[in-house]
Symmetry: C2
Subunit: 320 residues, 2 copies
Amino acid sequence: MNDRYENAEKLVVQEVAPRDGLQIEPTWVETADKIALIDSLSTLGFARIEAGSFVSPKAIPALRDGEAVFQQIERHPGVVYVALVPNLKGAERALASRADELNLVMSASQSHNRANMRMSCESSLAAFGDVVRRVKDASGGSQKVSLNGTVATAFGCPFEGAIAEDRVLGIVDIYRKLGLDGITLADTTGMANPRQVARIVSRVLERLPAAALTLHFHNTRGLGLANVLAAYEAGARRFDAALGGLGGCPFAPGASGNICTEDLVNLCAEMGIPTGIDLDQLIVLSRGLPALLGHDVPGQLAKAGRNRDLHAVPDYVLQI
Amino acid sequence: MNDRYENAEKLVVQEVAPRDGLQIEPTWVETADKIALIDSLSTLGFARIEAGSFVSPKAIPALRDGEAVFQQIERHPGVVYVALVPNLKGAERALASRADELNLVMSASQSHNRANMRMSCESSLAAFGDVVRRVKDASGGSQKVSLNGTVATAFGCPFEGAIAEDRVLGIVDIYRKLGLDGITLADTTGMANPRQVARIVSRVLERLPAAALTLHFHNTRGLGLANVLAAYEAGARRFDAALGGLGGCPFAPGASGNICTEDLVNLCAEMGIPTGIDLDQLIVLSRGLPALLGHDVPGQLAKAGRNRDLHAVPDYVLQI
């Protein structure tokens, strides 16, 4: 048989728990705890960490301390610290806080963008144009800041259902024309399936290199890791994931969150796909989440342990 | 791109909640409730239901009413009702209760077989020989009973770790020499990964037709559905799953259970893989499990709903 995973290329994980994970937590997480979490993550081999967002503190009160977080985290060389930004005002705040990359988010569906960003897709795109110009001005100075554009609800919308693939491809083209450095396709409420993922990723990779594409999957219906493998096999190499599987979408209640970082890294470790991430320390960090947040988290590996964490044979077996 | 799922062949689901799901439930499920569950499942399009086990009532008290269950369920034409059987005594009970198929279970690892079946692999195989002779005698009469052999811990053992693939293949060969009609490879504690699954399934399918092979995955580390797709792509067509994702292994505490039937059927429905199963009614049935068992269950689709179950747009969107 053909082993598709022999000499597998590296899978890059972007940790998003500090942003997509914490944004819907009902309990306030202290700024110092957020900084400690990010500082711990910075030591585990991640190339990219989405560390916060600069949206209206009224819309996302859980992340209202974005400035303090970005200013006080310990910057590790080789780690890109990303900030989610909805508009020019957010971009100004992120730049002032020395974010390495701004992640601009718009939904493929109008209704979800209105619900999530409180504006039309056209207004979002106009705002992104302002941000691009502002960042290019800043980069003319000493600051080198990259820009990523996320297509939310790219695989389905909780209000509208299926999203036409050509709509998604069209937004990818608009993002490219805007001059964005990277593009994320986000399955915001876990509606993607592996067949669809393989098809869309293949089409997008006809337009941009794998290094510029990130896939953002939620595990809402249990398909998150299957979708990762479908995307990886189609050529994608960069994936968002959240420690403990934190996160979710406020417009899809009952739903599980982002794919779980340690579950993903374990999958890769078992299959021989390099990630460069310290899985054992990641598990230790994840096991601290319930105490930090006051509730159980969806990730499974931290509960089950790794394959190599063997169990003791029951006493009666020794007597047989 | 090459769409591997165009005109996909049917994926056969064997529902195992009444056996593998209920066997570790701490709360007693009334015989009438077990029968009602099986009778409901019988109407939803399953070709096979593992309805109970005939092991020592001391070992598995939760399933001590196997006779009553098998005698009182409503037999639907086209549904094969399977009983798990560890030895000749269990086989006699299953035959007397008119099971359509006996599922003989032995672990690939000695330590797990001793823990689970309280005997060595050699003793299990000797007992299987007795069962085969007994069933052939019975089949000489009016009763047509088929035999399936399960290789438990086929992808890893919680006590011993990795299991040599040649050991698994060797047991498959022994099962074939015994004259068993079907063989199940079971990932008893969720240690399998898709790369390993593709490799083992390919090797086993060199020895027996796809219709005789069942894969039994647990979702312990979140890889269950990814493993299903890897096995399907390698040619496997028959899979065990449990309503609500019930089940687990008593020797791997903290672990999640079997792959969840409705999550699997939803994956197939979204990808265009036919299963013949009524997913909407399956979700209704799954949503009754917490009331029956007194606790939440791991399945995700019953909580999140199907992709086509759209959510209402928030009121403020209408005012933008």
